[in-house]
Amino acid sequence: MKKYSDSELQQKSILYRLALLKYIKMAGAGHTGGDLSCVDILNVLYNDVLNVSPENFHDKNRDRYIQSKGHAVEILYVVLAERGFFPETDLETIGKYKSPYIGHPTRKVNGIEFNTGALGHGLAISSGIALAGKRDRAPYRVFTLIGDGELAEGSNWEAAMLAAHYKLDNLLAILDHNTLQITGRISEVCSPYPIDEKWKAFGWNVITADGHNILWLRKVLNEATNLKDKPTIIIANTIKGKGVSFMENDTRWHHRVPSDDEYKIAVKELETQLI
């Protein structure tokens, strides 16, 4: 894997955001806010952490990435395209009749491991993969991205119990903690707080990180699986709509598509962030 500098990765995040908005605009649909909140996480995962590439995607010892918050699929498509899993031009078909590039991940798209999108599924699946890895003494690690609104799904807690019971230290969950869901603040819809204490009580290592700080993300995502005997969750504090000021921290952008004018303003704002 090519070794990028922090500033190169920071530039990539901006380019990913530009591509994301382009294809959401083109498709006329997408989960804009929740895509933007996890851009930096996916960037660091696919460019600095995961032992996954188009060449080794069928190798049984590849690292696995399961996106439990499947609705943020557009940014996953953008990152996979840039990493060479398929041509970027495929993204022009997102949401089109018979296109495999639909609004939630499917295995019809190269690079995707599981068909997710119904919330509360990724952690159990990831625990099963991690458990197989433990039994087989395989070197791979399993990463799963969970939304914070998704924590209300009880199936997460069934899986959390199991992962701690089996000491799945090859499993890393990342919580995209952008604090908003479609109805409003997660604390007001049905509060999952205190999040860190809940995971600790379930027997997990808990690390809190700035989910937009490339430097920090590189460190915690690379080092967390070195912690032994417990699964780890990184509570990544993020901003829904990150990178476009008028989309940030605004629930209305959960799955809104920018108008022509909004798109132009957003692109301009992102372009000024490029070096």
Partner: protein, 319 residues
């Protein structure tokens, strides 16, 4: 078998499930059993003792058991999830739909103590809806084996298949319904008895009462075809239409709600083919299900030799 053959009792199908898994695991370390505090009721304790590294216990958590199983299967494990059919089929229906069937990983879901096997425990523990729920899910084969032979063959086939299965078992000892020379194929009904007056299409633990009914009808000069329709999806349309053309009446009997199960599936095939054959679904009707032992529940709803005989004679009078 022949109508005059003596019926010989076999083992419970679940014991055969365990024996077969042990046989498979002997040569294949990728066989994994997954249980939800259900290894005892699944009769899997001998497997767990022999291959402790090949059993995964998830506790009483049916959503989790299916998600975890899908994860295991995605790494190449040959996974058999064993949990009561009443919980496994619908508590985890979304995991079955998405993580297994839609994601297309070959998890084998084994619904134990299904139908009214837990008769006196009541509706919470009856699974009279599992086949109906799973029939509407694309990419899962549904098999309800009748006897030890069908069980062994189903488990062996499922273990090497790269597609998801739901395999449904009861609890009690099953008589042998096949002779040594019989062959078995998923999606191909087993003809247990030949006959051309009435056909009884049955599955699982209702095949034996169908055979008993055929014996009584034989003494009354009525010949009965008994089909073990072990595979409910994909359905053996050819055998169903053949029976509808060659027999004067059709009964479908199942240990399931009459809504959405084998009976409705057969009726659809026959109706769409335009065959005007007298037809009766037998199973558990749309009502608060009576409780009691499995046999008492069966007798109550006519899933018995005498109940099936009565229906057969009633249908034949219409001809």
């Amino acid at each position: 078998m022949n109508i005059t053959d003596q019926i010989i009792e076999g083992k419970a199908n679940l014991e055969i499930f365990c024996d077969t898994l042990i046989d498979l695991a002997r040569k294949d370390s990728t066989i994994i059993a997954v249980t939800s505090d259900s290894r005892g009721s699944s009769r899997l304790i001998p497997f767990a003792e022999k291959y402790p590294e090949q059993i995964v216990e998830v506790g009483i958590a049916e959503q989790n058991i299916v998600g975890v199983a899908a994860g295991l299967a995605s790494t190449g494990k040959k996974v058999f999830v064993s949990s009561p059919g009443c919980f496994l089929s619908t508590r985890s229906l979304e995991q079955i739909k998405n993580d297994v069937a839609y994601s297309d990983y070959p998890v084998n879901l084994v619904g134990i103590s299904s139908g009214v096997s837990y008769g006196a425990l009541g509706t919470t523990h009856h699974s009279l809806h599992d086949v109906a729920a799973l029939r509407a899910i694309h990419n899962i084969t549904i098999v309800v084996p009748a006897d030890n032979f069908e069980t062994r063959e189903t488990i062996k086939t499922a273990a090497i298949s790269n597609k998801p299965f739901y395999i449904r078992f009861g609890k009690k000892k099953m008589p042998h319904l096949h002779s040594g020379s019989d062959t078995f194929g998923i999606g191909k009904a087993s003809t247990i008895l030949e006959g051309n007056d009435v056909a009884i299409i049955a599955c699982g633990e209702t095949v034996f009462p169908a055979v008993e009914a055929a014996k009584i009808l034989y003494n009354k000069g009525i010949s009965t075809r008994v089909l073990s329709m072990h595979t409910i999806k994909p359905l053996d349309n050819i055998s169903i239409l053949k029976a509808a053309k060659e027999c004067k009446a059709i009964i479908v009997v199942e240990e399931h709600s009459i809504n959405g199960g084998l009976g409705e599936a057969c009726a659809t095939i026959i109706l769409e083919a335009g065959l005007p054959v007298p037809f009766k679904r037998m199973g558990i009707p749309e009502e608060d299900t009576v409780t009691g032992s499995q046999m008492e529940v069966f007798n109550h709803y006519g899933i018995s030799a005498s109940g099936l005989c009565n229906e057969a004679e009633k249908l034949l009078r219409k001809v």
